[in-house]
Symmetry: C2
Subunit: 484 residues, 2 copies
């Protein structure tokens, strides 16, 4: 690893975030200039600026040297950046005294950046506006990726930003839509920004104040889940619930498809196998849920609740309008299964991604044929094209790693907390897949305040590992990765 580069680039990103933090500072100041949160933001910005400037000053790099950036460096930069930004982003919460300690602040902000949406706050409505805005903003930055935003907006990383891009954007094969990575990053953030603007306008049209509209837009588009209300989206009108349902669905789509749609390429979307599964799964499962809920008379608006909750969990957003723990166990379990799956590759959603789960099913089934016909060559196809053996291995490895991490996470959680098995299982999958709520003691009406400090650190680790699809975080534990 080229440590000089790594620290240099992380410092730049940190400085960039200090700059972005001026926005929540603005909200805080407009609210009440004497509130402790104002000083908390100012102090944080000063600390961040000093640290990053000092690092940059001492680690100047010749422009041409950036070309040396390799895969290892890219992963390390992204992995460490996300940890540093979460540690740093927690400071305003800590300084302003809204949390019980630094662990809580770190948990909350890591949950923000990773778009998990798990909160330690028992009374969200009591929080000052600056803090509320900042936690929702971390969702938005983390959703499409803060380093991708940096690449899109700022110069100076040369032509080798693709290593960073690959490490931060989730999904199977990270496609570029433009030959230059900077252009790709610009387009993706452009679409993300445009969809966010649309949602904010539609939410405001439904009577939501601009502050709430912005915060909920950030959460929706990033498939995060933080709300500004204790009752989450249940506090709002049916119209608003439908708007958010639709935009959660958009956020769970591969953003490459949004790009192609914006170019009028409707065929691309119809031909995309992953999208078709996503679309029909969302509709069929929601409809079935709706029928069941209406037959069992478990909801006053069964179809709205069903669509909202299914899409909220499938996209790994984690917003709530109802307490789905009151639903039949079958429906609860289907929601848990969807937590494993998550949204599409290249979306802001978490989980294993539909494409991987789909391919894993195909690979599993083809292995039956392989046993029957040992000499046959059975290609695994995706979008009608055979995928290379190496990609097959990557998908399988990811699946296996995911399941192992899930079980290890559950065991560790059970060691650290005195809770039942369902709570531990769903805490683990909810953290790795960046959902937010689970079942049992972390159900849709609960929060994570009761979790011990070690338990919170564990979940934070799982959230970061899940958001960055393991490798960028796990590599930090590989000694040989640190060598030059």
């Amino acid at each position: 690893m080229h440590k000089r580069f790594v620290v240099n680039i992380i410092s730049r990103v940190l400085l960039f975030v200090c700059f972005i933090m001026l926005i929540p500072l603005g909200w805080a100041m407009s609210d009440d200039i004497h509130h402790p949160e104002v000083n908390a933001f100012i102090l944080t910005i000063i600390i961040g600026t000093i640290i990053s400037t000092v690092c940059l000053w001492n680690l100047r790099i010749k422009k041409g040297d950036y070309k040396k950036l390799n895969t290892k460096d890219g992963l390390a930069i992204v992995g460490i950046s996300w940890i540093v930004l979460s540690l740093f982003g927690a400071l305003p919460l800590y300084f302003s005294g809204v949390v019980n300690g630094y662990t809580d602040a770190f948990f909350e902000i890591a949950s923000g950046f990773t778009t998990t949406g798990a909160t330690i706050f028992e009374d969200i409505e009591a929080l000052p506006h600056g803090i509320l805005f900042w936690r929702s903003l971390t969702h938005w930055l983390g959703g499409m990726g803060i380093i991708v935003l940096y690449i899109a907006l700022l110069p100076a990383l040369g032509g080798n930003a693709s290593q960073l891009y690959k490490a931060e954007v989730p999904g199977l094969s990270v496609e570029r839509i433009e030959p230059r990575i900077k252009e790709t990053a610009k387009h993706l953030w452009g679409i993300y920004f445009f969809l966010s603007l649309m949602e904010t306008i539609l939410l405001m049209a439904g009577g939501m104040p601009i502050f709430d509209a912005l915060c909920h837009t950030f959460s929706t588009m990033a498939t995060g889940g933080f709300s500004t209300k204790n009752a989450s989206i249940g506090a709002y009108s049916p119209y608003i619930q439908w708007v958010i349902t639709v935009f959660m669905f958009f956020a769970g789509m591969n953003f490459i498809l949004h790009y192609q749609l914006s170019r009028g390429k409707l065929k691309a979307i119809i031909r995309n196998e992953e999208f078709k599964i996503y679309f029909f799964a969302a509709i069929i499962v929601s409809t079935l849920f709706g029928f069941l809920l209406s037959r069992l008379e478990m909801s006053e608006s069964p179809f709205r609740d069903a669509f909202f909750q299914v899409i909220s969990i499938l996209t790994t957003t984690g917003f709530g309008t109802t307490d789905f723990e009151a639903w039949p166990y079958l429906l609860q379990f289907i929601l848990v299964l969807m937590m494993f799956v998550g949204g599409c590759g290249g979306s802001t959603g978490g989980g294993m991604k539909i494409v991987r789960v789909y391919l894993s099913v195909k690979i599993g089934l083809s292995s039956i044929f392989q046993v029957l016909f040992p000499n046959a060559v059975i290609p695994i196809k995706f979008n009608k094209k055979p995928i290379p053996d190496k990609l097959v291995m990557t998908v399988m490895s990811y699946f296996v790693l995911y399941i192992h991490l899930f079980f290890v996470g559950t065991i560790l959680f059970l060691i650290l907390e005195s809770c039942d098995i369902i709570t531990a299982l769903t805490a683990s999958v909810s953290a790795i897949s960046n959902i937010g709520p689970g079942l049992g003691q972390i159900g849709p009406t609960d929060n994570f305040a009761w979790v011990s400090a070690p338990g919170k650190w564990l979940l934070t680790f799982l959230m970061l590992a899940g958001r960055l699809e393991f490798y960028a975080i796990m590599m930090l534990f590989v000694p040989s990765a640190w060598r030059k």
Copy 2:
């Protein structure tokens, strides 16, 4: 598929089982010759003999033709045999009227052959001896494999029995210990018989009557779990519990190792990675359980209970001496995890097998290195030898299929039964891994009497699929497998 062969060989195996059924008939007659179970066995044997003789008569095959037997035929023979034998073996229970219907009888005997040990009987001690003996005997036959026994004892399958052998013996790569498959089968069954004899003698030395000693030996050596007592092994002395613990451990070992041990090759066992993991995992986990149970004062004999229960679950036997649902959730969950793992490859235990789980962890971790060093070739090693890429794929596919089947099983069980998620999850893994008990409504003190008929058929399917490691059962759903 060569249907003529398939039916021919299945008929032979059926006739063979009719012959074996004379033993429980003997027990039944010595007990009380006027008991309905005597007629039930006689009727079953007559039916089986007629059907198999008629089939054999109509489907005579020239001896040389057996050489045409291919992989497909081998899988089909084993898959269909096991279904036929379970259907057929259920008849004595059905005819004698000890069950509430044919579904219950089929469930019980499939649970027997697959060495699951899940029972629908609420009062086992009320059953007549012939039936008790038969259900335990199905364990013993299923443990090392009824078709392997047929190969070992009877002539006439020519040199192509290896397809059958491969399809019935579980594990990663089925090693032969002799060049001729018949000799291998003889050796394995010989060791199995010898260990069973030893256990029976040791149990009788502890004061167990010969009937109970035989039944429990069958259950132990096959890692089954049927007992003749309602309190399972909890009804017996500490000495007997320890004897069973040790023999469960033996049964969970790769039988190739037993063979090598019998040849004095002690090094083979010390060098075997899978055995080392099995050995140390059993000891370390049991000891930790013992410490925890003794500190929490949850057991009067914490270490005996811990060793017994850990080894019972790890080997997928499913015997009980205590109600482990009263233990801390952490311990319960570790037991559930061990249900996934199971014994060693080539043992009579179920589950994914230690070797596959171990390799899946290695493959998962090596994928991290692969991402860091994209051009490096990182071989996966087992017992210090690199394993071929094809085997890596096989292991991964099996892992993926297992997890998918587990989740599908859970969902279907939740659709069919009104039970909680933990019950459904553990019913699914318990059936696929051939354990027996689970948690919730199928805990160690419960039974499967409450499960609906469709639920029982589902679990029976999962048991058979799990015992035959999926392919022999799943291929039956592949239309092209039925073509010639």
